[in-house]
Amino acid sequence: MSSKIKKINIRAIFLYLIMCGLAIIIVMKILFIQTLQPQISKINTPSFIPLSAPRGNIFSDNGSLLAISMPLYNIYLDLSVIEENIFIKESSSLASGLSNLFEDKSTNEYLKFLKSNRNSKYLRLKHKVTQNELNVLKSLPILKLGKNKGGLIAEKRANRENPFGILAKRTIGVLRNSNPIGLERAYNKTLSGLDGLQLKQKIGKNLYRDEDSELNLSPQAGSDIVSTINIDMQDMAHQALSTALERHDADWGTVILMEVKTGHVKVIANLKKNKNGSFDENYNHAIAKHSEPGSTFKLASILAGLEDSFFKLSDSIDTEDGTHKFFDKTMRDSKKGGYGKITLGEAFVKSSNVAISKVINKYYKDKPQLFIDRIYKMGLCTPLDIELPYPNSLLVKKPGSNEWFGTTLPWMSIGYSLRLTPLHMLTFYNAIANQGVMVKPLFTSSVMNGGKIIYEKNIEVINPAICSKSSIDKILPFLVNVVEEGTAKSIKNKKYKIAGKTSTTLLDYGRVEVDRENYQKNIKKYQPSFIGFFPAENPKYSCIVLVNNPKKNGFYGGDVAAPIFKEISDKVFASDISLHQPIDDEVEKVSLPFVSNGFSYDLQNVLEKLGIPFKSQQSKWSVSVKKNDQINLRLRNINQDLNSNQIPSFYGMIISDAVFLLENAGLQVSFKGKGKIKFQSLKKGMKFDLGTKINLIAS
């Protein structure tokens, strides 16, 4: 018995020792991994994991989303995990669902696609799928079984969405590794926010537990940028430009619309023709394209002369036969034969190259630096320090330099021999509309965080007076006349007045001049433009429209650019409620009080004292009628009727007057009420005798 117990004990001890040995091996292995294999031991060690801060959004001026972070998904299928009976039973329903969702293949095509890739473990289904599409995918037969049974693999990819597509795309911008652009680049730091750090302990697949640490740092979400762009106006301008570019078969075009007082850029549209003939926003011509402005620059030339008191707009200039030679080069007017002798103001309205260049050359030929200094003062030669990054290739030739010739000044005066951006020119015209105050064009108005404004931009004045107010007052009527009777009369309208200037810049002008005879007409390239502001009396918006190389349906600024301007200004004028007065106010201004019929002397006396305009005929008794903002007191033949024993009409007359007249004429009057007569018992024209009774009823 004891030997048996002893045997059992030995076995138990042996087993016990084995267990102890195993425990020692496990402990040794743990120590080995902990000390010598950190790649394994650190898997479950708490570690700091970066937390990315959500990027801020970009809003339009009325809160519409212009740019927002919205991830997309690349969808793959692992068809090998789907059970055969499920695949056979539901693959056609899945194919139908995919066909309905993506609308790129028929149900049969999808079915064939699924069946032919039945064993694929990583089958590309679709890239750039949105969250809403993914939600639908997750509800489709088979795929709703999840990743392990349905084989749906959705790989998230970062994406910045522009809900309005190509509207103002270049200005909103793109953040990318090479050549980021627009507001996304300019405000990257503000939009990005600050990434955070969190100590986390891994407790399962894709599952972490937050651990406390002094080094934990919460991510700070990026701020939102509120841009000045008005998406409604942008859309209108985009449509107008796009239609016109197609109509004129142009290469590209740009539109900028700016608020005069604030410099807020409400519209910035850039469209360029693609190789396939469609138009896209792929270059910000508005801020980056430096080109010769042409005739729109004549405004600066005229203002320079007015500022220096060299001439008046009433001065007479001879445009000769429409040509004038400056050294070896000939200046030409667009009208063959010229305009004869005209005033300088008319020359501006008709955009005469000869007149403007002659007058500028006459007064500044010997002191060109004075002219350049004036142009500098008007802010046309200094880069605009705007928020958006853009290349600076401003070119204004300097007197005395190698590139300054005898012909430079006359050509510069009509907008050649210098290069400016459309935004630059608009900023200049905007200053004219703003009584000489040049404000910086702004693309953003505020920065918001958590729905609250944390920073608001103020108006930035570049130059409080680019020229004197008297010069502006002198030129303004002529800017209006350009539209009323000049080169842009095609856009004249009765609703509101537009002030502006057209331009038809001949591109590659130097080459054309050198070889004018051999230069083929069909290879001439023009760049029509129109810059203006409206309503001219109290400008709220300034706008530039520039079209490059139109090949059909005209090429003049008045035919190509001005109609686009008008299409935009009409819609803006109609939609901007602040440009219109409430109808009540207008009524109050012209409304006249009710004036009853009665004794002419009394009526005139009252109307005179109240200052109400009236017109009266010579008569004792009058009928009052409202006409054209005044009261007409018309002749009333009451006395004549009564003298010839005929009953006159007393309707509308004050009852006391009527009773007085009738009783004087010998009638017996009975009456009811007071005020104006609304009934008389004897009709007009009836004969009466002394003592005849008449009843009157007043209201």
Binding site: L65, I203, H238
Partner: protein, 105 residues
């Protein structure tokens, strides 16, 4: 010899039968109870983390659905998109300014 005996007694578990050791049993039970409680709490915490993770995932998904839907709404809300929709009914944007009636009570 005495060493062998003590090892044997540990292996045999003789110390459990000693009366002095039995006095510590309640304490041992308490320790075991606390250990079990700790394990239970840990599992509970993990379960909460899993729930929280699932809810966070759902919130993210809902937020993205909201953003996506809002983005699609913006596309339809565009003036030209609305014009395209109503053009078939003969409607278009008016170029006539609005008549403003200011009503003061």
């Amino acid at each position: 010899m005495s060493n062998n005996r003590s090892i044997l007694s540990v292996l045999k578990g003789d110390f459990f039968t000693k009366k002095e050791s039995q006095n510590y049993f309640p304490f041992l039970f308490l320790i075991i109870l606390l250990l079990l409680l700790n394990i239970r709490i840990s599992f509970n915490a993990e379960s909460l983390i899993r729930q929280s993770f699932a809810l966070e995932k759902e919130i993210t998904s809902l937020r993205l659905t909201y953003i996506n839907t809002k983005s699609e709404l913006m596309k339809v809300y565009k003036r030209s998109a609305v014009e395209d929709l109503v053009n078939a009914q003969g409607l278009s944007t008016s170029n006539n300014p609005p008549i403003i009636i200011d009503y003061n009570e």
